[in-house]
Every structure is written in structure tokens, then in C-alpha cells.
């Protein structure tokens, strides 16, 4: 990527730009990813330091913030000493003093923007303020997906061609002067020529483009994303980053001509001194070094507790225990606590974690829709299509979003009449919030009673190259894969629940980021139904039997959806249950409901507007109201505080209180001595959980440039992004309301397996290996027998002995929730004796 020699090539420069620009998709497909993915070929600390120096990002907390954490003992002195010893051997004292006491100069002038700042300094012209408003407005109108009533005319041939078409046939121009318009219509408006006019020196072209595009990374980024993936828009638009740059250069020429006539000289020829090259090696920066050490100490202060907890916690499953039911949840950190509560309600049940698409990858086509929506992890490209029929849901409509209120006469009539209806709505919005057409509801993703085309019938034709449903063999493969990875291959209970998850909220532009990440930002309900249908399929079971997995006839799979913001569960296809199973299911539902209320109570400790000391039931109803309240910017806190990923048996961590901070993937090392399934798990964990974690990390440490800032003033631009105000750049990353309680720690993946197997496993896939090797995600192996801990460092595992000697044990988790709004430490949970809980 970094070929930055003197020769200028449009193609490589554009590619390089695209690589560094934010790659966030339009809102409807919001998917978490590592914000600084462009630096992932370097090790974490080196990469972020580069990013900081070149682009001016904040990549760690500030020194005062770290010192505050140190004062609050969240960074432990003992750990700090250990980190200092490792990083600054021989100079520990000096550096410790630097970290804790000395004044650290954190001001830093980034390299980006230095070249173009010369316009202002020397030419006394503020190009950005002349060009940006009209540029953003035109790109925004061109890409608009349905806000505007009168669309961009002539938009079928691409961005620049459309503008040309408009300019050619209009009495009014976007330009103020002749030359730029002439260049666009008849002249040579190739990138090289335009850059020649504005910059004048070839070796500066690329840097100029970087400066220019990074003055508005939001619009440039979305254009690049749409260029590479036009299907991310429903109303497809052709645009390329190159066209955006060409047009911006034309507007710049126009602005300069307007001010000086056509006689100004290119910026490159007027430079008194060349600016620092963007990608030159970075220099030593003491503040960065200090913060790097703080960061390590901060992380290890937490990791140490967890690892000690893992070592200390014990969980004894009784031999030959017959599980009352088994429940499969998503790996998602939000499911970490609900599993604990369910296990508390029924100590004989067993829960599992797995990626929430349940190993069935396909496109879903809801009834009445012409579009397919992908419901599996983003990097996968499914070959299957599952269609919904017999959907009876209808979307309710709301005139507040309709075009009539914006008409002149229709608006006149509406304001005189329905305007007063709005007053009533306003009143109820505030005093009695209920669901309405504006809310996003996870259960609406698919009609509960609809029929899905899960099985491929002979003779079904391919649609758009996709096969409708799975063949029996394909179904069996998927179920087998799922069951083996999570280690559920015998001792089947009578009820196996597959519980996907989604989220409900209102007034939430980032709603897609609240649903299941393993289903490409959609609720996991369809996948849950599909896998359960497969699990209940006699033919599939027949095949599995041949392969050694015997599912008893009494066992039935039940699909469900957990709404993580409302803490509700919805169960699907109950008709197929046998009478006795149905009865028992009913009892389970009662347990689930109690667990859901307790889960709501646990979550509520983060919500200031709810008194956590109240009963679980009353809190639960308040939590539900939050999800339909227009004035509530935090229906739930999503993945905030995520820090861990535990890959192992449930017994490995069951009695450890992790405060909803862990992704959990079930995995039985004993049936996977070669790490075959483990690799599959890690291939997903690294990019998905690592991506989520790093997006939260960077949005937290630099909410202003890597995050989206506060969401309160956000304005929806063309349904594809948000900006502040009407003339702003698109804001990428997460809004402050999503990350404010997040502690920026890198993800620690803890695997229950022998380090040598784990090492050999991760090396098998270079893409996955890079995450660990370059330290963007930390990795620990715990020997299943001895519980010895190994930390992956560069290319090998090193023994780690926790500094902490003991972890407090608690029994009353409910009391714990009521005690604090902040992050809770790791605790051991004392198991209650059997029989005390129903």
C-alpha cells in the first residue's frame, strides 16, 4: 500500500487514499470494524503512533485521564512496575516519574493538511469554506436515498457525467467562473491536468489529494465505499472517489479564479518550504511513549484480574447430569449476563455461545420486498436464498415522514389540520411513550407466523445465482458443524433453544449497529428458525446419526429471538412441539422471563434514570419504555465495556462474574485435539469481536475525529449518514452516547486449550494470525488441566503468573448491581446449593 516514491500514478494514489479513508458503510448496513484497519500491518502501538503523527488522531487516553485512573487504583502500581520493567529496563524509576509526575507536552501538529494550509497562509484564501458547502451538498443530493422529494436529475451515468449533463443544459451553473466550467464540459479534466493547474508539482500531487480528502473524510469515505460496493445502496448510484476529487479540484479552481482571475500560480510553486512527506518514518515522541506504557499498564491491570479469576474459578458439573434444557446464544457480549441469569434460574440447564448466525449463511428475502438482505457475517458471500411467505405484517405509515407536509398547498392543509394531531403526538411522546411507526422493532424483521423456504426442492431454479434453501445434505453439514464447534454432540436435552438476538429502539440512526453483528447487523431471528428447522428435520438427523451424532427423538429444537434492549424473548414455530415438550417449554418460558427481568435489572445499573434498587419486574417495564422513548438516546449500551472473549467450555468460566464484558464462544478442546474447529472460531472472533472492540476503542479515545461526537445534534443526510448541522461532513464511528462508559482496552481472547495447539492453529490462517501477531487483539491460552496461563507475544506463548493473589467471592449478585454504576471488578460467584432456587 505504501508506495510513495516520486512517480505519480492516479491509480495507486487513489487506492492508497481509499485504504486510509474511513470505510464505514451507509447507515442501513452499519457494521463494526477496526477504525484504523489501514494500519493493521504494523503492530498495534507502532500503527497507532503512525496514525497519530500522520493524521492527528488521538490514539490513547490522555495523560491526565491515565493518571486519574492510576489515582483511582484502576491502574495498579504493581502492574505498572511490571510493564516498566519490560519496556524500560534499567530506567524504570526515571520513566515512572515521567508517567506520574512530570508535565507531558501532548500538543501535536499532524502532517495531514500542512500542504494545503498554504492556501490560507500565503494566498489568504479559505478554500475549504468556499468549496465544502457546495461540494457536500452536491454529493449528498446525488447519493440521496430518499430524503429529497425532487431527486438529482440525470443521475444514471455516474457522478461527473451527471453534473456535466446538468451544466450543459442549464442556464445556471454550479461554477462562478468560466475556466472550471469549460474544463468540465470540453476540456481535459483528468486528475493529472487538474492537479497540474492547482498543485503544479508532480511529487506533491498525492499529498495534496490526501490533504484535500482528509479535510472531509466522511464524504470521501462513503463515496469510496459506494464505488466498491454499489449494492450497499437500495437506489444504486455510480460514483468514484476519483470523480469526487476531480469535481473538488474544479471547484477549487473556480474559487481561485473567482478571487484572483486566472493568473494565480499553483500552490506547489509558491511553497517556501516543502511540507513533511506524509508517510515518512515517524519520529520519536515522548508523550506517545508515555501513553503507550500507561495503556499497557491499564490493560494488564484488568487482564490480570480476569486471568487470576479463570485460574481460581471452579465449576463442577455432576457426572451424568441430564440437562433440563440447552440454550444456544450468540457470542455477543450482551448475552453474557442473560446466560448467567438463566443458569441461576435453572441450575440444571446448560447454555452455549456461538456466532449468532448459527452456522447457516444465506440471504433473506422478506415477503413484499424485492431485496435480499444478508444474514451472516459480513465477509461471507452466501450462495443461498431463503424467502418468506405468508407474512401478514404491514408497515404503518406516518405523515410526518411523508412528502405532503413539505408541499406548498398540501403543507398548508396539513398544518391547519394534522398540525394539531402533531401536538397530541408530542404530548404522548413525552408523557406516555409507545411504539409507533418511527420505532425500530427487532421482531418486525420477520413475521412470526410466516413460512420460510428453508428446504431446497428439486426443480427450484436459481434466482440471481442463488439457490433457494438448502438440500438435506447441506443442512446436515451445517448442523453438524455447529454442534461440533460448541461441543454439543451427546447428552442432548429434550429442548434445545437457538436464541438469536436483535434490538429495538427509536430515533436511532445507528440502529443497524445494535442488532446481531454475526448477521450483518440484522436480528438473528431468521437464522434461529432456520437452524431449528434443520435440527428437527428427520432426514438431517438420519445423516447425523451416520456421522456419530445421535439426536434422540424426544429432542426438539426451538428457535427464539432475544431483544437485547427490551429484554424480551419471542419463540418461533411452537406448533411442531410434542405435547409433553410444549408443556415443559411453557415452564421454561417462565424461567426465561424471570431471568430477563433480572437481566434488565443488571443492565439498569448503568441507566441513571432508573433506580436499580427497585424490584426486577418494575425495572423491566421501565427498561422497555426506554426503547420506545424518543428522548432516550441510550436504549441500551450495546457493546460498551467489551474487553474479553472467552473460548472454552461453559465450566471454564461459568462461576466468574465478568460484568457483561465478555464475548463467549463455547468450545470443547477435548473433541478437537488439532484445533480444526478452534480455527473456525478464531477466524470469526478476530475480525468480528476484534473489530467491535477496536471500533469502540478508537471511538472512545478520539470521539471527535474517529467517533461521531455526540448524537444529539445529528442531522440525517440522504439516509446514508449523519452530519452535524446542514453543511457538515459525514460523521463516522460511534456517537459519544455509545462509548461513554467504555474502557478503551484491547480485546483479550482467552482460549481453553494447550498453548502449542493454539499456536499451531492460529498460524494456519495468516489473516487471523495477523490480528494476534501484530497485537491488535491479545491472546491467552489456558492449559485445561493445569490451568497455567500463557500469553501470546510476537510469535510464541510465554508463561504468565498473575500478580493478584486472590479474587473476592460473592453470592448475592443482585446486591452487587445495586451497589455501583461503574464497571465492576471480577468476582468469583459462589454456587448456591441445589434446591434453593426453583
Amino acid at each position: 500500500m505504501e508506495t510513495h516514491t516520486g512517480e505519480f500514478s492516479v491509480h495507486s494514489s487513489i487506492e492508497s487514499l481509499k485504504h486510509y479513508l474511513p470505510s464505514q458503510a451507509p447507515l442501513k448496513d452499519f457494521i463494526h470494524h477496526n477504525t484504523l484497519h489501514a494500519f493493521q500491518h504494523d503492530s498495534f502501538h507502532d500503527g497507532v503512533k503512525k496514525a497519530a503523527e500522520i493524521f492527528g488522531y488521538k490514539v490513547y487516553l490522555s495523560v491526565p485521564e491515565f493518571r486519574n485512573l492510576y489515582a483511582k487504583k484502576e491502574i495498579k502500581e504493581q502492574v505498572l512496575d511490571q510493564v516498566l520493567k519490560a519496556k524500560k529496563e534499567g530506567k524504570e524509576g526515571e520513566w515512572k516519574n515521567k508517567l506520574i509526575n512530570e508535565k507531558i507536552e501532548e500538543e501535536q501538529i499532524p502532517r495531514i493538511g500542512q500542504l494545503r494550509s498554504f492556501w490560507k497562509e500565503h494566498f489568504k484564501i479559505d478554500l475549504d469554506s468556499l468549496v465544502h458547502p457546495i461540494l457536500f451538498r452536491i454529493i449528498g443530493s446525488y447519493l440521496d436515498q430518499g430524503v429529497s422529494i425532487w431527486n438529482f436529475p440525470a443521475s444514471s451515468n455516474g457522478f461527473l457525467a451527471s453534473i456535466r449533463e446538468l451544466e450543459r443544459n442549464s442556464l445556471i451553473s454550479f461554477f462562478k467562473t468560466k475556466r472550471a466550467k469549460e474544463l468540465l464540459l470540453n476540456g481535459d479534466c483528468s486528475l493529472e491536468n487538474l492537479l497540474q493547474i492547482t498543485v503544479g508539482r508532480k511529487e506533491l500531487f498525492e499529498q495534496y489529494m490526501f490533504d484535500q480528502q482528509f479535510a472531509h473524510p466522511g464524504w470521501s469515505g462513503i463515496s469510496a465505499v459506494i464505488e466498491d460496493n454499489p449494492f450497499s445502496l437500495i437506489d444504486e448510484k455510480k460514483i468514484t472517489l476519483e470523480e469526487v476529487i476531480q469535481f473538488e479540484l474544479l471547484l477549487e479552481i473556480d474559487a481561485l479564479d473567482d478571487r484572483y482571475g486566472e493568473i494565480w500560480s499553483p500552490i506547489g510553486l509558491k511553497l517556501t518550504e516543502d511540507p513533511v512527506k506524509l508517510f515518512l518514518d515517524i519520529s520519536y515522541n515522548e508523550a506517545m511513549e508515555v501513553k503507550m506504557i500507561w495503556q499497557e499498564a491499564y490493560e494488564w491491570s484488568y487482564y490480570d484480574k480476569v486471568l487470576k479469576g479463570i485460574q481460581l474459578q471452579t465449576c463442577e458439573t455432576q457426572e451424568n447430569q441430564i440437562d433440563s434444557f440447552q440454550a444456544l446464544f450468540c457470542i455477543d457480549d450482551r448475552e453474557c449476563s442473560i446466560r448467567r441469569h438463566i443458569e441461576e434460574e435453572d441450575q440444571k440447564c446448560k447454555t452455549f455461545g456461538t456466532a449468532g448466525f448459527f452456522n447457516v449463511e444465506f440471504y433473506f428475502q422478506p415477503e413484499h420486498s424485492d431485496f435480499y438482505t444478508k444474514v451472516c457475517p459480513a465477509p461471507m458471500t452466501p450462495k443461498y436464498l431463503i424467502r418468506e411467505v405468508e407474512n401478514t405484517n404491514r408497515q404503518s405509515s406516518d405523515f410526518h415522514f411523508g412528502k405532503h407536509s413539505h408541499g406548498l398547498l398540501s403543507g398548508w392543509i396539513l398544518t391547519h389540520t394534522l398540525g394539531f394531531w402533531s401536538a397530541l403526538r408530542l404530548f404522548f411522546t413525552v408523557f406516555k411513550p409507545t411504539q409507533n411507526a418511527a420505532s425500530v422493532t427487532s421482531s418486525k424483521h420477520m413475521d412470526k407466523h410466516s413460512v420460510l423456504s428453508i428446504e431446497n426442492k428439486v426443480g427450484d431454479e436459481l434466482i440471481d445465482g442463488l439457490q433457494i434453501g438448502y438440500t438435506i445434505d447441506e443442512m446436515a453439514n451445517r448442523l453438524e458443524g455447529l454442534l461440533r464447534t460448541i461441543g454439543l454432540i451427546d447428552n442432548f436435552a429434550t429442548h434445545i433453544y437457538a436464541i438469536g438476538h436483535g434490538s429495538s429502539s427509536v430515533n436511532n440512526t445507528h440502529y443497524a449497529g445494535y442488532d446481531c453483528g454475526a448477521c450483518s447487523g440484522r436480528p438473528g431471528s431468521v437464522n434461529a428458525r432456520v437452524i431449528c428447522h434443520i435440527g428437527n428435520h428427520a432426514g438431517v438427523r438420519e445423516i447425523l446419526k451416520e456421522r456419530g451424532i445421535v439426536i434422540p427423538e424426544t429432542t426438539q429444537f426451538i428457535g427464539a429471538l432475544h431483544d437485547t434492549s427490551r429484554d424480551e424473548m419471542m419463540f418461533y414455530d411452537l406448533k411442531v412441539l410434542s405435547d409433553s415438550n410444549f408443556k415443559f417449554h411453557h415452564e421454561n418460558v417462565l424461567k426465561f422471563n424471570r431471568a430477563l427481568s433480572k437481566n434488565a435489572k443488571e443492565r439498569s445499573r448503568r441507566f441513571m434514570s432508573i433506580n436499580t434498587k427497585k424490584s426486577a419486574k418494575s425495572i423491566h417495564s421501565k427498561v422497555k419504555v426506554r426503547t420506545v422513548s424518543l428522548f432516550e438516546p441510550r436504549p441500551e449500551l450495546n457493546h460498551a465495556t467489551n474487553t474479553l472473549c472467552i473460548v472454552g467450555n461453559r465450566d471454564f468460566s461459568k462461576n466468574l462474574f465478568l460484568d457483561r464484558r465478555a464475548f463467549m464462544n463455547s468450545y470443547d478442546y477435548s473433541i478437537d485435539p488439532n484445533g480444526t474447529f478452534l480455527l473456525g472460531i478464531l477466524n470469526a472472533v478476530a475480525p468480528v469481536c476484534g473489530g467491535i472492540n477496536l471500533e469502540y476503542y478508537f471511538s472512545r479515545v478520539d470521539n471527535q475525529t474517529l467517533g461521531a461526537g455526540t448524537k444529539l445534534p445529528h442531522n440525517v443526510m440522504g439516509l446514508i449518514g449523519v452530519a452535524n448541522g446542514i453543511d457538515g461532513d459525514l460523521r463516522t464511528g460511534l456517537p459519544s452516547q455509545m462509548i461513554e462508559v467504555h474502557d478503551p482496552l484491547r480485546l483479550l481472547v482467552i482460549v481453553e486449550h494447550y498453548p502449542e495447539v493454539l499456536l499451531e492453529t492460529i498460524k494456519r490462517n495468516p489473516a487471523t494470525f495477523e490480528w494476534f501477531e501484530k497485537d491488535w487483539v491479545k491472546l491467552a491460552a489456558v492449559n485445561p488441566e493445569t490451568k497455567e496461563i500463557y500469553i501470546f507475544n510476537k510469535d510464541q506463548f510465554e508463561t504468565y503468573i498473575p500478580l493478584l493473589k486472590d479474587i473476592k467471592a460473592i453470592q448475592d449478585t443482585e446486591g452487587l448491581f445495586e451497589s455501583s454504576h461503574d464497571n465492576l471488578p471480577v468476582y468469583l460467584i459462589k454456587e448456591r446449593s441445589h434446591g434453593t432456587v426453583n
Binding site: 422478506p366 394539531f420 401536538a423 471527535q704 445534534p713 440525517v716 448541522g725
Partner: protein, 622 residues
């Protein structure tokens, strides 16, 4: 019962003061004060209205008290209540009540929680003063409060570039509205020979008698009022400020710019309707202006790809229609329209983030590729031209620059040779000479007596233009504002017999505020290396207290109704004769740019992205 009207002013005032007292982190108390204040007000309003109607619903005019009296001059506070007030009172109380409850949760944990509720209550105070005002002077007090609270609210996210830039921009348009109002007050003072109350305006014979002799002045007053109304209600040619004001948290945009603030222009037109009812030419003019705005804004709204600007332009279009209704004398319909538009736009803005999920879902299920619009059936050349001009908002924003601010800048930049030090040498000589002349009026010939005020007021205007465009020295810019006031006082002193008390009223606030402000600047210069006017410096980040004191000084020096200067400005105008239009214009311009220059200094040194980069700050474009 009539005295109850005072309650509607006092309540928000008490609420506002209380909200200043509570600590920043005490979210509960802050929001509680706000919605209790507005809640009580709403409740009281309901009772008041019922009782008022029970007693026949007669217009109430309440002359409160005089602040300043002199021969032929009486600056008094006057309150008024009729069905226009009633409608605005109900809309204001209901919406503000709902929004305060709404924001209580919405703004939770937001930096500036306290500031937000302070500003909302301050705004609400100003709103009530305006709608209850019984004369132009009282109205002007509320009017000024609205301007300042708007500025503070748009710049709510004061560490970003665009909100601050737009706040200054909107404030400057509001100041244009102020010129209209100040001059209208001046002219009407000459027309009526008193500070007339709205109550008297509704006396047909009285109005008719006065206007019969002075139809030109009548039209001029109406026109000036229209300018203020158009500026406040974002009508042509001022429309482009409204969408740009949507920089604060969504609920505040909803209530300020979706409903209450933008309809104030319509209010002032309705309030003064009896005055221009019989000026047919003016009524025709309002109809045409309203219709033009309505049509142009509708097209602009149709091409907006951002949800808030779309709502803003739709609202502007409806207000254009409201103007027409008022001009046609359809007051009842206009009032219903105001209420309906206010509620509708407020709700639309509040739910605006939901448009993403709503429309995406709608498209997902019922996708119709690129629906045809009426414009598609028009000739291509016409269609494209209309599209481009609508997208460019009819060039309104750039026209403002081209014809208002850029000429000022050019004028100001001619004076580069002045520095903080050498300026006072020239100023000292000139001022001293003027002072001597003014103290010895006998040596001035009558011809010069006419020109001297003009000359000095023009010099004052130049000073303030320089202050407004100064890019380096904060001290120069600030002191130029002070010397501008001094020069105006001097200019006026040539005009009539020298009444020292009037000058004391006028200059007392200026001098105190000027000194306080100067002290703030010096203090900041002592603490910070980088203090200048060439860009935004954002020093409020580290020096919030100095920033606050300086803001108050700015308001003082700008003639905001917290110092006697406010009355003094009105007094100054009472000394300008009706044939001295140019003098009135120079002085009005001076005062307007003065306020602008002060706010600009405040914005440049204290607001915007912080010049120090050790903490996160957003990109300039965001």
C-alpha cells in the same frame, strides 16, 4: 386579574435566575427548575385564559412603569394581552414545557447540560416579553434576549467550527432585523411624538389622522418593521440562516427554529397590523413578498437531501403563506396556521433521526425506482436550471456575503495602518477637537452644525467597521467599539442642546462594560500566548470564567438591556430629527455593527476549536 400578566414575565425570570444558581452536575435540579417553571406558567396560562374569556375577552393594556422620563420622552414598560398573545402564549408554554421534559433525559450526561437549560429559560423569558409587550420598546427588550439566546444556542457545541461560524452568521442577520426595529422606533417617535403603545395603535381615528399627513413615514415604518419580521422569520432575502441555525441539540432546534423563534416575525406583523391596515400598497408588498418566499422556499425544500434543512425550508414556505394571510387581514386563520405549523415542525424535527429506519424500511418493501416528479415533465433546460438554483438556495447565502459582509470587509481592510498604539494618537486629536467644538457651539456656523454630527457619526461608523474587520489586535478592535460609542455621543451633542444626563445614561454602561471587557482581554493575554482575531481560538476550554465575564461585557457594550446604555441608545435616537435620515442611518448601522463586532471578538477568542491540540477536537468540516 390584569396584574397577573406580570406573573408571566416574572416566572421565567425567576426560573432563569434559579437555574443559574444550581451546580453544573446537578442535572435533576436544573431540569426540575426548568420544567416546573414552564409547567406553572402553562397551568397559570390556562386558568388566566379561561377567566379572561369569561370576562369577555377584552384587550388588556397594562402600563407598568417608566424607566426614564424627560421632556417629551418617556421610556416605559407596557404589557398587552389579546388573542394574538393568547395563541403565542399557549404555543410557547406547551412546546417549551414538552421540550424541557424531553431534554431532561435527552441531554443526560451532555457537556453543557446546565448551559442548555439556562439558555432555554433565558429564551423563554425573552419570548414572553415579546409576546406580552405593549409597545415597541418593551418588545425590543425581548427581541434582544431572543437574539442573544439564539446565538448561544446555535453555538452550543462551541468547540466546533461550524456551529460557531453559523451562530455569528445568524446573529448578524438578527442584527439586520434590529436595525429595522431601531429605525422604526425612531421614526414612530417622530410620528407620534411619544413612545406609542400598541393599544393606541388599534385606535383607528388616531392612526388615520397621523398617517394622513405623513404617508411616506408611515410606509417607511411599516417597511422597517417588515425587515425585522422577515429577518426573524427567515423570509426572503434572509431565508438561508434558518437551516444553518440547526446546529444545537435536536430538541432545541425543534423549538427555536422549528416553532417559536421563527414565528416571531409573524407575530410582530400581526401586532402592528392596525398600523398598516390602511396602507394598501404595503399590504400588497407583503403578499408578494410572502408568496415569493413561499414558492422559492418550497422548491428549495424539495431538493434538500438533509432532513433538517428540508423541514426548515418547508417551514419557511408556510410562514410565507402566514405573511400573506396576515396581509389579507385573515388574522384568525394566520393564528391557527402559526400553531399548526409550530407543532408540526417541532414534532417532525424531534423524530427526524427516525427517518432513516422508516424510509429504509419503506423502500425495502415498496421500492419504486426514482419516482417521477412534476419537474420531470418540464423542459430540460428549465428543469435543470431550477434544480441547480434551488440546490444553491437561490444564492441567498452568497448574496449576503457579496452585498453585506464583503463590502464591509473591504472597507475595514483599508485601514490596516492603524495599530493599537498609533490609533489613539489620531483618535485623541480628533476627539479633543470635536469636544472643544461641541462645548463652544457658538463658534460653529449653522451649516456646519448640520454637517458635524454627520461627519462624526460617519467617523464612528468607520471605527466600528474597522473593529468588525480587524484580524489581529483584540485590544484595538475592542477599544474601537468603545471609541465608536464616544464618537456617537459627540456627534449627537452637536445636534441639540447638550443634555449631560442623557449622555451619562448612554455612556455609563459602555464605559463599565468596556473596562470590564478590556480587563478580561488583558488577563487572557497574560495567560495565553495566542490571542488574536484571525481565526477561532476556543479559549473557553481553559478559561470558562473569563469567557463568561467577557460575554457579559460584550452584551453590555452592545447595548443589551442589562445596562442603562440600552435606554441611552433609544435616547440618542430621540435627539435625531426626522429630516436627519442619514444621521439616523449611520448611527443605527454603528450600533448594529458594534454589537456584531463585540460578539465576533467573543466568538473568535473564546469559541471554536481550541487552539491547543492536546485534547480531541473535531475536524473543521464536521
Amino acid at each position: 386579574m390584569e396584574q397577573l400578566i406580570n406573573l408571566f414575565i416574572l416566572l421565567p425570570l425567576v426560573g432563569f435566575i434559579l437555574s443559574l444558581v444550581f451546580p453544573r452536575r446537578n442535572e435533576n435540579m436544573l431540569s426540575w427548575v426548568s420544567f416546573t417553571t414552564v409547567g406553572i406558567q402553562l397551568f397559570a396560562a390556562l386558568i388566566f385564559i379561561v377567566v379572561w374569556m369569561f370576562y369577555g375577552g377584552n384587550v388588556i393594556d397594562l402600563k407598568e412603569f417608566s424607566i426614564f422620563q424627560a421632556r417629551g420622552y418617556d421610556f416605559y414598560i407596557d404589557f398587552y394581552f389579546d388573542r394574538i398573545t393568547l395563541t403565542y402564549l399557549m404555543i410557547g408554554a406547551m412546546l417549551t414545557f414538552i421540550i424541557t421534559v424531553y431534554s431532561r433525559y435527552y441531554l443526560h450526561r451532555e457537556e453543557g447540560y446546565k448551559r442548555f437549560f439556562n439558555i432555554i429559560l433565558f429564551f423563554y423569558l425573552g419570548y414572553n416579553i415579546v409576546i406580552f409587550s405593549g409597545n415597541l420598546e418593551t418588545l425590543f427588550i425581548g427581541w434582544e434576549i431572543l437574539s442573544v439566546s439564539s446565538f448561544l444556542l446555535i453555538a452550543f457545541y462551541r468547540d466546533r467550527y461550524l456551529p460557531v461560524k453559523n451562530a455569528v452568521k445568524v446573529f448578524s442577520i438578527y442584527r439586520i432585523g434590529d436595525v429595522g426595529l431601531i429605525l422604526a422606533m425612531w421614526l414612530s417617535h417622530h410620528l407620534w411624538h411619544e413612545n406609542i403603545s400598541f393599544y393606541k395603535l388599534s385606535n383607528y381615528e388616531l392612526v388615520h389622522e397621523h398617517l394622513a399627513e405623513h404617508s411616506m413615514i408611515g410606509f417607511a415604518i411599516s417597511f422597517l418593521i417588515f425587515i425585522s419580521a422577515a429577518a426573524k422569520s427567515a423570509q426572503l432575502p434572509f431565508s438561508s440562516w434558518l437551516p444553518r441555525a440547526m446546529e444545537g441539540p435536536t430538541p432545541s432546534s425543534a423549538i427555536f427554529y422549528g416553532s417559536l423563534s421563527v414565528h416571531i416575525g409573524a407575530f410582530i406583523l400581526m401586532r402592528t397590523y392596525p398600523f398598516w391596515e390602511f396602507q394598501t400598497s404595503f399590504r400588497v408588498f407583503v403578499v408578494i413578498a410572502g408568496l415569493t418566499t413561499a414558492i422559492l422556499a418550497t422548491f428549495t425544500s424539495r431538493v434538500q437531501s438533509s432532513i433538517k434543512s428540508q423541514i426548515a425550508y418547508s417551514s419557511i414556505a408556510q410562514i410565507g403563506l402566514i405573511f400573506i394571510e396576515i396581509a389579507l387581514g385573515l388574522e384568525a386563520i394566520a393564528l391557527v396556521h402559526v400553531a399548526g405549523n409550530a407543532f408540526l415542525r417541532t414534532y417532525q424535527l424531534l423524530v427526524s433521526p427516525s427517518v432513516v429506519s422508516y424510509k429504509i424500511r419503506e423502500q425495502f418493501y415498496n421500492y419504486v425506482p426514482r419516482p417521477k416528479t412534476i419537474e420531470d415533465s418540464w423542459p430540460k433546460r428549465f428543469e435543470y436550471s431550477l434544480y441547480i438554483i434551488s440546490l444553491k438556495e437561490w444564492n441567498l447565502d452568497s448574496l449576503m456575503y457579496k452585498y453585506m459582509w464583503n463590502p464591509l470587509k473591504r472597507l475595514g481592510s483599508k485601514w490596516v495602518f492603524f495599530t493599537f498604539k498609533n490609533f489613539y494618537f489620531f483618535f485623541g486629536i480628533g476627539f479633543l477637537a470635536g469636544l472643544i467644538l461641541s462645548l463652544n457651539p457658538q463658534i460653529i456656523s449653522p451649516k456646519w452644525a448640520f454637517y458635524l454630527p454627520l461627519i462624526f457619526s460617519f467617523l464612528g461608523l468607520l471605527m466600528v467597521i474597522k473593529a468588525f474587520t480587524e484580524r489581529n489586535s483584540v485590544r484595538l478592535s475592542w477599544t474601537l467599539i468603545i471609541t465608536n460609542h464616544l464618537t456617537i455621543a459627540l456627534a449627537i451633542s452637536f445636534n441639540e442642546h447638550f443634555d449631560i444626563t442623557h449622555h451619562i445614561w448612554y455612556l455609563s454602561g459602555v464605559i463599565v462594560a468596556g473596562m470590564v471587557g478590556y480587563f478580561c482581554i488583558q488577563r487572557l493575554r497574560g495567560l495565553e500566548k495566542r490571542v488574536s482575531l484571525d481565526k477561532f481560538y476556543g479559549h473557553v476550554y481553559e478559561h470558562p470564567k473569563i469567557a463568561l465575564v467577557f460575554l457579559i461585557a460584550c452584551l453590555g457594550i452592545a447595548g443589551f438591556p442589562i445596562t442603562p446604555t440600552f435606554i441611552g441608545e433609544d435616547l440618542i435616537f430621540s435627539h435625531i430629527k426626522e429630516n436627519q435620515v442619514l444621521l439616523a442611518f449611520f448611527i443605527a448601522m454603528s450600533l448594529i455593527i458594534n454589537g456584531l463586532a463585540a460578539i465576533r471578538i467573543y466568538a473568535r477568542i473564546f469559541l471554536g476549536p481550541h487552539v491547543k491540540t492536546y485534547h480531541g477536537s473535531a475536524k473543521r468540516s464536521s
